[in-house]
């Protein structure tokens, strides 16, 4: 029995281009208070474009309806549990949206005088110090725009540091459970990637690592990039030891902090040997994902990397905040201006709302929710690693794929039960991964409904596996042909040839 959802009517909607007709418009500009300039005269005819062919022409009411209708086809945290593992889809407080839109912050120009930017700079400074306290690191940059961007920044810091020591080295070690951005980043920073295998506890294999670092070519290992807790939701118990081994060879320990929401208030990367790490403010600190972004990926570091931070660095000079550009060893800029400031505002608001003890409580609730799901689903789904789970739990589809139903199919069926699917097929070291991260902002009631749904699907697969393969059944758009999309890519609208001929 599906208790979470029912079928309901939803408005269809054409593309904007199909709803346009010449002369409709949704805008009005104030009358010019200066003489109108003829573009052809001012710019020369060759610089002036013809009309923007095909561009929308709709009124305000059509615009609002268009996007409102589209919105109703989306699932969202505001509608229910969104258990995407690794993505930390937690509640996004609305007050954060309000404060980020306060005129004085929203309209602050990055080049306005520092004397007239102190409030905005104070926000940056406050967030910096809160994040340092949370991570136990020594210094931080808020410039990177997202996690992957933070990774690049962090690895460039490692590179610059090693270079300053005489040799940037060649290789970066990446566990096989790593997120795709880790190897992609290493490669963008000019490093070769060496994958390392996890042990049967789902953790880094310290022996193997020690072996690697004992070899003659170990001096070209620049760093290890490790996600902790790992993408299996497992805390790397030997992380401090690993740090020691790396450090003994002059290599650095990079921590992907995407899962920092499992650690806040319980343990600090700065206290277990991490040299450099990034945070995903849009995960741990609950800034809205917005259908894919924006994010923010601060990079926190230990003292020895500080000289290499991107410019500018915020600094207090005689009671006033000041941007310091005079940093000769800096890796340079990784982004224009000072980062995704509006996201920083939201993250700080989140931290202020929880406060120190509150952040820790949130972490504990996140752990509790994940372990509750683990306990309840363990009888029904294969759990490949039995190490303790932190904020997420990864099952495999082993038992279900025996009946021909894969994690991806199961996920689609979950939609019919009223839930956004978990993360499918990641991490890749688990065959047919079912990666579930509930976050702390889910009620017991919602978790119980989810657990019921997962169990019900497991039962369906026992009883009639075929029926699951066509899911979802209850969405206005049924299963989308992704193969077709990739084989014959259509990535923009074009006027229908027949109708455009008719119009000619």
């Amino acid at each position: 029995m599906i208790r979470k959802v029912r079928q309901h009517i939803t408005q269809n909607e054409a593309l904007l281009f199909e709803e346009s007709s010449p002369g409709k418009s949704g805008y009005q500009l104030p009358a010019l208070d200066v003489p109108a300039v003829d573009p052809h005269e001012a710019l020369g005819g060759g610089n002036v474009r013809d009309e923007i062919e095909g561009f929308p022409e709709v009124s305000e009411v059509e615009a609002i309806r268009h996007f409102t209708r589209l919105s109703t086809w989306n699932y969202a945290i505001d509608l229910g549990l969104y258990p995407l593992g690794s993505c930390t889809m937690k509640y996004n407080p609305r007050v954060n949206e309000l404060v980020a839109r306060l005129d004085g912050l929203a309209w602050a120009h990055p080049y306005q005088p520092e004397s007239l930017s102190q409030g905005a700079m104070q926000v940056i400074a406050d967030l910096e110090s809160a994040l340092l306290e949370i991570t136990g690191m020594d210094a931080i940059t808020l410039q990177p725009a997202a996690g992957a961007h933070g990774e690049l920044t962090g690895i460039l810091l490692v590179r610059a540091y090693l270079e300053s020591q005489g040799n940037p080295r060649k290789r970066i070690l990446v566990p096989d459970s790593a997120h795709g951005t880790n190897p992609a980043t290493a490669s963008m920073a000019g490093y070769a990637v060496q994958n390392i295998k996890s042990n049967d506890k789902g953790m880094m294999d310290v022996e193997q690592l020690a072996g690697l670092l004992d070899r003659d070519d170990a001096h070209d290992i620049a760093a290890l990039m490790v996600t902790n807790p790992s993408t299996l939701g497992i805390f790397e118990e030997d992380i401090a030891k690993v740090a020691g081994i790396l450090h003994s060879k002059g290599a650095m320990l990079y921590m992907d902090g995407a899962n920092m929401n499992a650690l806040v208030g319980l343990t600090r990367p700065g206290d277990f040997g991490v040299d450099v790490m990034h945070l995903n403010l849009h995960k741990t600190f609950s800034t809205p994902h917005g259908g894919g972004g924006p994010g923010s990926g601060p990079v926190a570091i230990k003292k020895h990397l500080e000289p290499f931070l991107p410019v500018p660095v915020l600094k207090k000079v005689s009671e006033a905040w000041h941007f310091d550009y005079n940093r000769p060893q800096s890796i340079g800029r990784v982004r224009a201006f000072y980062g995704n400031f509006g996201v920083l505002v939201r993250a700080l608001a989140y931290i202020l709302a929880h406060g120190g003890p509150g952040l820790r409580n949130a972490t504990v609730d996140a752990l509790m929710n994940a372990n509750y799901i683990r306990r309840k689903l363990e009888p029904h789904y294969d759990l490949p690693y039995s190490s303790p789970s932190m904020h997420e739990v990864v099952f495999s589809d082993d038992r279900q794929s025996a009946n021909g139903v894969k994690t991806g199919d199961l996920a689609k069926r979950l939609i019919d039960y009223g839930f956004h699917p978990y993360t499918v097929s990641f991490p890749t070291i688990v065959h047919g991964a079912i990666m579930i991260e509930p976050t702390e902002t889910e009620s017991k009631r919602e978790l119980d409904l989810f657990i019921d749904a997962m169990i019900s699907i497991a039962n369906e697969i026992e009883a009639d596996p075929k029926s699951v393969l066509q899911a979802p059944y209850s969405t206005r758009t049924t299963r989308v042909d992704e193969v077709l999309a990739a084989r014959r890519p259509i990535v923009r609208w074009k006027p229908d040839r027949s109708s455009s001929q008719a119009a000619d």
Partner: protein, 437 residues
């Protein structure tokens, strides 16, 4: 705590279900030495009311209420109310990357429309779902050109936004991608075609130009493209002021376009979040970085959209991906999409024409330093030091132009002045007066 939907008795029930008695057992396995044995040294949580108060105090400690003539990559344009109305809908605000197409058609359809509008605006064939911003789109475009051409070097105009060039340098440094700059013409303020020609060689993967350039001057794109193409390089066209595309000829001679959409309803917000884009000719589709939405059908044969060509991306290709980008600027791109919809075909043109008119009103009173045609900003020499004239304007609650010596020491007292549709005549007159002294 108001964000945590559980009562203590529910917590006890759940712990019991997990077979444990206390919450501490949930993390008992953490290595003892790593455990934080104290509370975080952060103040206790505060109420919503106090949070608003806190940020209002910060907001009051900024340039609130000042008129401004700053542009330089960040423009003050009016933000139609609809933009926030739409992006504030929880269905857009609180959804993730649309991997599950069946329950993400809202986001997917909007991105498909976004990609289409970017193509229509730029004259390119394909466009991605967004980059972090303009500054990071530039090195990504350069890397794309390197992949496409198999060559290593890029040439960048000195009148591309200085901070974009700095980012390019940071990215390029460790990739064996030499970056060389070419100059501008001291009289017109346009890129120096001779210098470009001299520096172009068989290893040049791309020539990067911006128009309107950092001085606000409109470049001769075709001439630059011809030179680049003659030596087998691609032309990368950069724009920082998207509003200009409402009026200026689209860069159809370019091969790749990298741009910043901040002008489209995105508040200056002290530098971000903004949204970058990369658009290109059809043949480079598979070398695009970032997400792409494609059209397909569902199992009932209805048109449907999904993320596509993800074999370019890091989550599939890992170290061989076209980029490491994952999270992009989706919501900001949606904001820009709503903006483009509200203004539409006519509106963007009228908007651009108003910008042109305002800036030319200002330039009728303050002589531009360069002779090249300009859109909504131009360089003008301050009567003395830029700091002095700006200090004087601050007294009138006006933020003056950007002093250019910071980026172009050779320009002395030059300032970059920007006027948009939001600039009032009275404020422009005040600036003119200050410059007349």
């Amino acid at each position: 705590m108001r964000y945590l939907p559980k009562s203590d008795s529910e917590r006890q029930e759940m712990l019991a279900a997990c077979g444990i008695a206390t919450a501490e057992e949930l993390y008992a396995h953490l290595p003892a030495k790593a455990k934080l044995n104290r509370e975080l040294n952060l103040a206790p949580g505060i109420s919503e009311y106090e949070i608003i108060d806190f940020f209002k105090a910060r907001a009051d400690d900024t340039a609130q209420g000042y008129a401004s003539f700053l542009g330089a990559g960040v423009y003050r344009h009016y933000r139609p109310v609809l933009c926030d109305t739409i992006v504030s809908r929880g269905e857009f605000l609180t959804s993730y990357t649309p991997y599950q197409a069946e329950i993400a058609q809202g986001t997917l359809t909007a991105i498909f429309e976004f990609q289409t509008m970017i193509c229509q605006l730029t004259g390119m064939d394909v466009a991605n779902a967004s980059m972090y911003d303009g500054s990071t789109a530039v090195p990504e475009a350069a890397m794309m050109a390197v992949r496409v051409t198999g060559r290593g070097k890029v040439l960048v105009s000195r009148v591309v936004h200085p901070e974009y060039r700095e980012v390019l340098t940071t990215y390029a440094r460790h990739q064996g991608m030499p970056v060389e700059e070419f100059g501008y013409h001291a009289e017109t303020g346009q890129l120096d075609l001779e210098d470009l020609e001299a520096k172009l060689d068989r290893d040049t993967a791309a020539v990067i130009i911006q128009s309107p350039n950092f001085f606000g001057v409109i470049e001769n794109v075709k001439a630059a493209a011809d030179l680049a193409h003659k030596s087998g390089a691609l032309l990368i066209f950069v724009f920082a002021e998207a509003a200009s595309l409402g009026l200026l000829a689209p860069p159809t001679d370019a091969d790749i376009v990298a741009g910043e959409l901040q002008s489209f309803a995105i508040s200056p917000s002290f530098g971000g979040p903004y949204a970058g884009i990369i658009a290109a000719k059809e043949k480079f589709l598979r070398q695009l970085p970032g997400r792409l939405v494609g059209q397909s059908v569902d199992s009932n044969g209805n048109r449907a959209f999904c993320l596509t060509l993800s074999t370019r991306e890091q989550h599939i290709r890992r170290e061989k991906a076209t980029s490491n980008i994952c999270t992009n600027q989706a919501l900001i791109a949606l904001m820009a999409t709503v903006y483009m919809t509200v203004y539409g075909k006519e509106g963007l043109r009228e908007l651009a024409t108003q910008n042109l008119s305002k800036a030319h009103y200002l330039s009728s009173k303050i002589k531009p330093r360069f002779t090249g045609p300009f859109f909504n900003e131009f360089v003008a020499d301050a009567p003395g030091s830029p700091e002095a004239v700006n200090q004087q304007l601050l007294g009138k609650k006006i933020i003056g132009g950007l002093a250019l010596n910071r980026f172009y020491p050779e320009l002395g007292n030059a300032t970059l002045l920007c006027a948009t549709e939001m600039s009032r005549r009275a404020d422009m007159d005040a600036v003119a007066e200050a410059y007349a002294q």
